[in-house]
Symmetry: C2
Subunit: 234 residues, 2 copies
Amino acid sequence: MFELVGFDADDTLWRSQDYFDDAQARFEAIVGHYVDLADAQLHDRTLATERRNIRLFGYGVKGMVLSMIETAVAITDARISASDIHRLVVLGKEILQHPVELVPGIRAAVEAVAEHHPLVLITKGDLFHQEAKVRASGLSELFHRIEIVSEKDPPTYARVLNECGVAASAFVMVGNSLRSDIAPVLTLGGYGVHVPYHLTWALEAEADLGEDVTRMCTVSEPVNIAAAIRGFVR
Amino acid sequence: MFELVGFDADDTLWRSQDYFDDAQARFEAIVGHYVDLADAQLHDRTLATERRNIRLFGYGVKGMVLSMIETAVAITDARISASDIHRLVVLGKEILQHPVELVPGIRAAVEAVAEHHPLVLITKGDLFHQEAKVRASGLSELFHRIEIVSEKDPPTYARVLNECGVAASAFVMVGNSLRSDIAPVLTLGGYGVHVPYHLTWALEAEADLGEDVTRMCTVSEPVNIAAAIRGFVR
């Protein structure tokens, strides 16, 4: 029996990437008034700015908006109007206020796992926004502990497991991101249940699973999570 | 004997408000090219925008920059140039990269308290930036536990004390902000050592200490913190 089961939040418990992709489309529409989007390689340049800024901004909506503003100013040779820049700020505020929409079937899936294991929610990103979403989700009482972290890498998982007094070999992580939810836990000797989401941010798509794929499995629907956890041979 | 001593971080362990005040002065210089600052009541309007946005952005540099951009666009009737808006983003990036400068005497003061009590660092703001500052400070090994929280109110302190298994009456908090470090701990029945900093953000200056002032004291220098803690009669 596993002693602890971890759940990711964004795009595992509730919709998230949809809002970011929608923001990116609206960003492109705004900048498209100034430049030819294909010529400007807007998508690649936005991603490059985000990648460069993440070591300063971390993950989350506010950093995304600041990176969008920086990209828009550069790509338009500073021709973009103040009103259009303000629309980017408003776009960020709208994401921060969007209602939390649970992934279909996830409440029952989490409850099924909670019957047999203590649960920890491990999510990365902006502390303030993540706390607001946890509160709005109505799921927080199912979790023994909630960890909002700045990066989901092996040292972070090791710290959380250490604080919980659980060995990695007795831990399984459930999430949509191979890079953030599965690979680092496999590295530590733990287990992973991958539940792909229909959208993936480009910076989350890069994962090296190494040789440990026997300790992970992929399920297509939340309803199959509990059975996947039972199915691991430890 | 107190079972746990908490320390605030910004403006208690290291300089912080100086950078924000400097950013505000540079912000005013930029906007001053477009409007008469006194007529525009820039300072009051910036503060009003920050106060309105804090429920969405939380505390920290990224939210400050977004509020500055919003204020600048409004106050200039969208006449501010994209280049000048980009200077506000750069200004934020500079704060996020500033070196951590310890308050003079604070390392020795923390070490003196650590000889007799386990310590917890309790700081609010942006998770990513606070973690970076804790790492850069060289003080993290003195703390048993580090808590980065989104708001320093009585429920937050109650949660931290509960997780540490310590009663409020066995806890003393050391910090520069009456509103965030002292008042909420007094409310819970704990103790406070107020170490004023030479600068205070307007939104931190509002505090209601109630009737509990017998459980707090004010010291002018870090060197006096340990003695202040010893001096409380429980």
